[in-house]
Symmetry: C3
Subunit: 217 residues, 3 copies
Amino acid sequence: MTTSTALLIADLVGVAVFAASGASAAVAKRLDLFGVAFVGFVAALGGGIFRGLVIGEMPPLAFADWRYATTAAITAGAIFWLHPQLARLRTTVLVLDAAGLALFTVTGTLKALDAHVPPVGACVVGMLSGIGGGLGRDLLTGEIPVVLRREIYAVAALAGAVVVAVLDRAGQAHSAPLLGAAVLIFGLRMVALRRRWTVPVATLRPPRTHDPGPGQR
Amino acid sequence: MTTSTALLIADLVGVAVFAASGASAAVAKRLDLFGVAFVGFVAALGGGIFRGLVIGEMPPLAFADWRYATTAAITAGAIFWLHPQLARLRTTVLVLDAAGLALFTVTGTLKALDAHVPPVGACVVGMLSGIGGGLGRDLLTGEIPVVLRREIYAVAALAGAVVVAVLDRAGQAHSAPLLGAAVLIFGLRMVALRRRWTVPVATLRPPRTHDPGPGQR
Amino acid sequence: MTTSTALLIADLVGVAVFAASGASAAVAKRLDLFGVAFVGFVAALGGGIFRGLVIGEMPPLAFADWRYATTAAITAGAIFWLHPQLARLRTTVLVLDAAGLALFTVTGTLKALDAHVPPVGACVVGMLSGIGGGLGRDLLTGEIPVVLRREIYAVAALAGAVVVAVLDRAGQAHSAPLLGAAVLIFGLRMVALRRRWTVPVATLRPPRTHDPGPGQR
């Protein structure tokens, strides 16, 4: 299997799982068929469209290749009709989201490197490719963006993106090691969810009473 | 009249009606003169800027041609000063929004096809050109995005975009048939609003203990 | 000092102050370390990424030059760890935001003019470069976007952008006059904040004659 075929398959699987995550979130919010399709679209293609614009891919693959939009639409439609069989939508969204995060971060980082974006920038572009869809989905459905919650999310994507950049530098950006990077992201995210790992929060000390705060007291 | 002149006029009319819809929504939210101008801008030019970025039009027409920004600014200013004469702002927003949706979807689909975006992608780009401005306006003014409400909106745009793509394929993308496509979108949207047509919502069945299960009725 | 070196320094200072504004806002919202870094990123680089996309800078400098992302990350991290020393976060955000607004508007307008965007469009692109980061920060942290509040904000940026365009047309776009344009924006914004200058609001109803007015004691 060529690299481009492997990338296409990984991309379409990412589109499907993110479309499913967006559609499940939209069904849970009682949106109509087109709302479900639209949120599925944004979740599935938002990160990739952003990446395409940034690396000068005009038009982005989401519009240039009909398989992307079609995969997203069919998946969102399937979720709309089949969701009563899906037992717990919220858990489903979380697992699918983690899988999409892993796949899009790896393919996004690779594509940015292929487009001659320097390594630091390519890691950021890859991370944003991964988190962009979920960010759009959460903004549209009125949820607190997952990337801003106290959970391991963007940091898992960034770790995977760094691994991809290192593999690429070492000339080892083949299917098996890249799959390993994706599994790393997915694993980090799932373990963090299950064990409730969190990122530290700044200690915001309340103003002390003897603090001469101007005009406050 | 050449095709490019017709496209320019249709585009500027779309800019004016969307700027008016955005400005009316901002006036209704009690925003100041610059808030009104800004929301008018985003509503008028947001969809077109997105389309321009996607099809590699750098800079997008909204920045390259001063008539776009000027039309949006003058229209928003006019709404700001004249709005007390506008009897019912909410209805005004809805009608102007439908007109802008129709015009931008048609011109957006055409421009995407001209930029060699394949038909499926061009329909999506056209639909997003149409709904982008209203989406930005609703996000800025804190309304539920119109595209996510249980109404015929994006589906009307998509139907019109498909008609444009078919006309283009048949070599019939002339002013009169394209105007027909715009009227189709506007008509679908207005009839849907008036008759309260809605898109189906997924039946989210709560887990009832006496649920007979699938196919048992 | 060459123009490009001066632009780079002005840009990186803008990145730092906007990253600090975003990080301070995120700390105030009790976000975790990555949330703080992410909001700092968006505030620091959002406006510039938008400008880069619009003027066809692929990839945008924020991704092409590692110093941008690194400056944003280090600044956000510093705010995260040092913020207890920052007495009043809210005032800090406002002052840093005004400085970033001034710097990014000037550099954004210049870059758009350099990329052959016509003057009207270049002023709009420059203004959006200036207000984009703060808009993203406010949307992410759930604040009313500063550009929509009844304050002198976008209008200060626009005034400075017009000065830059006039200077450029007159062949006087050197460091000193450009610094003057930045100081103009910063000064307008700070004076407006201190004196509670506001932009007029459309009169939906007859104005209340017994309104004491803002800030009068």
